[in-house]
Amino acid sequence: MSQMKQTNPYIDVPSYALENITESTFALNLGPQHPGTHGVLRIILEMDGEYILKADPVLGYGHRVQEKIAENSTYTQVLPYMGRMDYLGALLYNQAWVCCVEKMCGFEVPERAEHVRVITCELNRIASHLLWYGAFLLDLGGFTPFLHAFSDRERVLDLLEYVTGSRLTYCFFRFGGLFNDVDDHFLQNTMDFVEHLRKSLKSYHELVTGNVIFLNRTENVGTVDHFDARRFGLSGPVVRAMDYDHDVRRIEPYSIYDRFDFDIPVYKESDCLARYHVRLQEFEESLKIIEQAISAIPDGPIRSKVPKIIKPPRGEACMAVETPRGELVVYIVSDGTKTPYRVKYRVPSFSNLSVFAKLAEGTLLADALAILGSLDLVIPEIDR
């Protein structure tokens, strides 16, 4: 507490718009189409040789006004849109919307449905982290881990396709439960996959973690100041690499996560290497959760009876969910009719990207790409 009083609360925030390009500097577009920006993100850089003087992200290339669409649709019609926002962690976005409305209306979810939700969400988290691992190392120049990660990811996508019918933008949860039941074939294959991934993780560590080029490119690169996590609202693996023990599944448990025994990996160094370690350890924690959920899954119905037209009572509600990128908050203001009055999606990548302008100042261009990769952004969720 006393430490907090000594830091001056007021910060002079400069405007990052590029105004003066002098004769010795030039403006470079890390353009909307670029393999290193993971989507349509444009960053205008003011460069002095290879050093970045100022970075200004320009957003909006994928903006679809999801919040206004939600005001004109019923609560059920909004459900497919959630998967399109973050296509890598679509089931978790589904869960945020469905759980928020269930909280407002007081719907109960059967036990079997809760267990299946947890299993599929953790599989989705593993798929997202596998893609992050491949893409991050591809940005740094290593092509081999990308192929290994995607080969494992295909197995996860096959499992999820067997149950949900889609490979990427899932729409599997419904108010009060699930769309489809799972059978023993799925559960057995998932247990086989868990064994397979444990072996793969060992080979990922052998391939990458001690590699001297990788360490030189990620150690002490993109160090975030400790109090910036509070000022910018960072969350997820970015903040767990900064000595903050924050995971929504542990701090504000939703669904049945409080019944499972898993650790939260926390590292202190706040650089790209620490974020890498946090995510690699999260694989193992997700595998633990999947095993416990499969061994505890009961029989029973998968969907409880809910009215055909959902009309939550007047008021507002928030639901926070731990996505692979951080804390997603869905904030619904309802006026008692069948369409929401106002919906706000607080996406983790938006806040995580807002600290990039500060982090990229004074770094080399190659380091800026390493920082972008380690922040694990998905641009459609930023643009909504």
């Binding site: 907090m4 002079d12 509070r230 000022r231 910018f232 509600a317 926070a320 806040s351 600290v355």
Partner: protein, 148 residues
């Protein structure tokens, strides 16, 4: 010190009003309404306390009451306690103070809310458009209820 102790005087004067809320159902643990003048004090109080972080800055367009309500949300890192502050301003000239000198992450949130609702944030140095096109005219505010 809790928020209702620190702002006891302002609550008595009617400047800071606790709104009704069931935290189990809504996920919001502290729901308050305050005036725009008190906003900076609230932000300073939240900064100097336990590890709260800025979650979101947004707005609601209440067309029947002729108000736009600015919504500020904060949450904690060590245990959960979501604080949401409502700041109503008149709809024809919505002006709110910025909190970006204490929480620089609010710059992007305020830019987005400003372009969607037409709110002016005083002292916000970077008030360009964020998600919409740069050369749209400033009265193009899609999230207002009377937008055509």
């Amino acid at each position: 010190m809790k928020i209702h102790e620190f702002f006891a005087d302002d609550t008595a004067n009617g400047l800071m009003i606790p709104l009704e809320n069931e935290s189990e159902k809504s996920g919001i643990h502290d729901l308050w309404q305050c005036t725009p003048e008190l906003l900076e004090e609230v932000a300073l109080f939240i900064w100097h306390g336990p590890p709260y972080f800025l979650e979101m800055v947004t707005a609601i367009d209440q067309i029947e009451d002729d108000k736009i309500i600015g919504v500020y949300s904060f949450n904690r890192f060590d245990k959960t306690n979501r604080i949401i502050i409502h700041v109503p301003v008149p709809r024809d000239n919505p002006v709110l103070p910025t909190i970006s000198m204490i929480f620089p992450g609010a710059v992007w949130h305020e830019r987005e809310t400003a372009e969607f609702f037409g709110i002016t944030y005083t002292n916000l140095k970077d008030s360009r458009r964020l998600l919409l096109l740069d050369d749209d005219d400033p009265s193009y505010n899609p999230l207002r209820k009377d937008f055509k």
